[in-house]
Assembly symmetry: C2
Homo-oligomer: 208 residues x 2
Amino acid sequence: MARMPSAERRRQLTEAAIRAMARDGVAKTTTRSIAAEADVSLSVFHYCFDSKQALVESVITTITDHYVTVVKEALKPRASLEETVRAGFQAYWDHVRAHPDEHMLTYELTQYALRQPGFEHLARRQYELYSDTYAELIDQLGRSMNFQLRVPVSALARYLAAMTDGLTLNYLVLGDEAAWTDILDTVTAHIAGLVHAEGDLTGEKPRP
Amino acid sequence: MARMPSAERRRQLTEAAIRAMARDGVAKTTTRSIAAEADVSLSVFHYCFDSKQALVESVITTITDHYVTVVKEALKPRASLEETVRAGFQAYWDHVRAHPDEHMLTYELTQYALRQPGFEHLARRQYELYSDTYAELIDQLGRSMNFQLRVPVSALARYLAAMTDGLTLNYLVLGDEAAWTDILDTVTAHIAGLVHAEGDLTGEKPRP
DNA sequence: AAGAGTCCGGGACGATTGACCTGATGAGCC
DNA sequence: GGCTCATCAGGTCAATCGTCCCGGACTCTT
């Protein structure tokens, strides 16, 4: 067994834990299965992490940061606004289809964190980071394409985060890829309607 | 201990399990904690159910049917369409705020079912029932209020199911009730825009 | 009232889990 | 070379879990 500094071992164990949890589910992932996945002995596990909870904390922050990167990279400026939004959804969607297990894992970890005393802040951090990422993207897009919003940025960001989250979960349960072209088109049109500040496009205004 | 027919005992144990799982989480709910919550001995549990899995199956179908009822009762026809939709969201939302633990439980059970070999169909049934319920409500509302849709009913139903699911999960994690008035208003306006067949209200049409 | 079928209680078993412990191994520094 | 400390291997332990067994008690039928 090759020697390795603790920090790198921790990364190795964290990534092994992510693979094991994505494959078997959080509930069925034990310290032994993680050690086996990382191809180290069980005692190495407890040498690098004080407890299983300490590793799970590392897993949650790692995978959260990972998916923030995925969302950020999905949105790249294109010719028109609608095209940009639609391509962004599509890129995110392709990632979900390619790695369903890992997306499923993010949901499991959220609930694990919410149920584990002292871990609630990790679940909140996860979802705040999602919303903040969308807010940042909206802001950045707004500056490069020069438009105004008909709704608060924070509300739109949160709506986007929640909606993509719900759509993703729905897809993970039901599959049926064909149904999503229509839905993504509809959502894209909706976003475009909220963004273009050219008159009242959606019927009645929200009550004042 | 009062004697009781098996069928009624099973209902009692199922409801006790729902309470215990909503309080402690699915992972930490044991056969012993369920029996204690139902105030029966452990052997009664295995007299009524062949295994813990058999009880969980009963729990999933029960709670799924329960929430279909909640959604159906949330939507009652009002003066205008927009008013009806907004009040429907609000009624559902009030239920989420009143019973966050039970809603959280539905997400945990979905993932439990997806991970448990042979239980995937229960998760799919859950989400299909959600979509079907929305489709039924849309259809029923369309007949009583006489309007046409700009998108397929099935797509809108699925979008509604996924979006409310995502918004609910987001609220369960982040809380922050104040943020939701804006979001529900925005979504309501969106739905109203999709439903009113009075010209092109949302900018560009989805690509043909 | 007697027997059969149904329900309940306490206890026990085997398996699995997270955590820990002791001793061996190897690399880098004096 | 010898010393020190990070790293590893295997075994052990207590706790907890789902499941099961057996004996007793209740209820309904006849």
